[in-house]
Symmetry: C2
Subunit: 278 residues, 2 copies
């Protein structure tokens, strides 16, 4: 039986990159959770001695601080550098980008609109790079309360939906002379969905790996089922039933955004063993 992974699946580029960086920096600590996945953080702690602290003051001169994928506020980064902490930056490059845009645009006199959640670590970081005039909004209603100058630069939290972003932009354009729109939305989630749709059209059995309560995994499973009725949502190798693969020639695999590669690899190994023994 042919086994094929979707073109995009599981952890996004930024998460994979951050984990690799953490693994390369044993005896370090992340300031805040590296990624939003407790199991993976546990594994990094156990296998690579990468600790986790929520307290900036835990870092002393000579310590190694790994910066989380979501980034941290500029001022806190500067504090770490000032203390001669060895800083290893695992901020996702798709998050570094809006940070840089905020910094450059506010230096150039633009008002900044950040479309996102004020309380999210990514946005707290991004906003900190604007020297002044940065407004975090989630809706047009909030925008209507603000009087901007003539020129506005707009960025979005990487995980926002582009349709919602356009609503913000469509309010601003008729009201202001220049609206400089930076599309900082990351398509990883949508790419996983597109890839599972594509693969499930070809495969005759689909395995979707991810937590039973993971909303994005359930979405992947529902898309797969629409094209391939023999689609199964599992959490790990133990959930597999060899009967699923009887008479099948082409098995497609995808995984939710919080599923680490090692679980995916265990599943593939289990399917291969099963299909050999069958």
């Amino acid at each position: 039986m042919k086994i094929e992974l979707a073109e995009n699946y599981g952890f996004c580029f930024g998460v994979k990159r951050a984990i690799k960086i953490a693994e390369e920096n044993r005896q370090s600590a992340t300031y805040g959770p590296l990624i939003h996945n407790a199991k993976e953080i546990e594994r990094l702690q156990k296998d690579f001695q990468v600790a986790l602290t929520e307290n900036l003051d835990d870092f002393k001169a000579g310590d190694t601080a790994v910066i989380r994928t979501h980034g941290i506020p500029k001022q806190e980064l500067e504090t770490l550098y000032a203390r001669d902490v060895h800083v290893v930056d695992a901020t996702c490059p798709y998050v570094t980008k809006p940070q840089q845009i905020c910094e450059e645009m506010s230096e150039q006199g633009y008002d900044i609109v950040i479309f996102g959640d004020e309380a999210h670590p990514e946005i707290r970081g991004v906003k900190s790079y604007a020297t002044e005039g940065a407004y975090v909004v989630m809706s047009v209603k909030e925008l209507e309360q603000i009087r901007f100058k003539e020129k506005i630069a707009v960025v979005a939290q990487t995980t926002r939906k582009v349709d919602e972003f356009l609503k913000i932009v469509n309010y601003l354009i008729p009201h202001y002379k220049e609206v400089r729109v930076f599309n900082t939305i990351c398509n990883a989630t949508f790419e996983n969905q597109d890839a599972v749709r594509d693969l499930s059209k070809r495969a005759d059995v689909m395995i979707i790996i991810g937590g039973k309560n993971s909303s994005n995994t359930k979405q992947l499973h529902s898309i797969a089922q629409a094209y391939c009725p023999d689609s199964y949502h599992i959490e790990g190798p133990d959930d597999i039933d060899d009967a699923w693969f009887e008479g099948k020639a082409y098995c497609g695999i995808s995984a939710g955004a919080s599923t680490p590669d090692w679980i995916i690899e265990q599943v593939i190994a289990r399917i291969k063993t099963g299909s050999k023994s069958a």
Copy 2:
């Protein structure tokens, strides 16, 4: 009877300005029609000896060339200067703006999208200021054919509707990293409509002046009628019936975008005479 003009009416700022410039430059010629209004051009020729030519070669050293409100291509302007023609620029400042944006943005490496009519003099002028990579489009369909680089600057023909402009922008934002939107749409037409709406709520008789076939005048009349049933659309003073003003206390006046002030003044004088004699 109180007579009040709408807060915005008739010729827009750019047209008024151009006529004033032409009147101050007797014995000159405009290259192409100064504005899109034949009666007014006739008047400038008769009373101010401002001729009209469509041929650039008619201008010799020492001649005075008045540049039309819509602007002309950069290369033709340079030809006039090179020939030592005395150039008087009556280009509307709202048209000069997208010209400048095109020049600056293409120098900075942006691809330029101009939302407008390729054949319109304004757009031929605006486009000429982009050094390279300027695309004139009227629809998303046309945009889909074009592969842009990463950064796009967008301007609009001054008379386009903002809703249509947003469609163009909304296609670009999800597809490109940076879309720098310059809202170069002029609100003069909409301002006339807003002002007639406002005035007709207060007045008990409304006079709307403009050609019987003028689409924007008919729109003004229709708006006025919605709030003030005694609203009349006239072309000039001769169309007035004194009976309209019997028992009225408050007469509101507006005029279409192609109606010169001197016709409006004649109408006001006629109403005053009529109401005195009544």
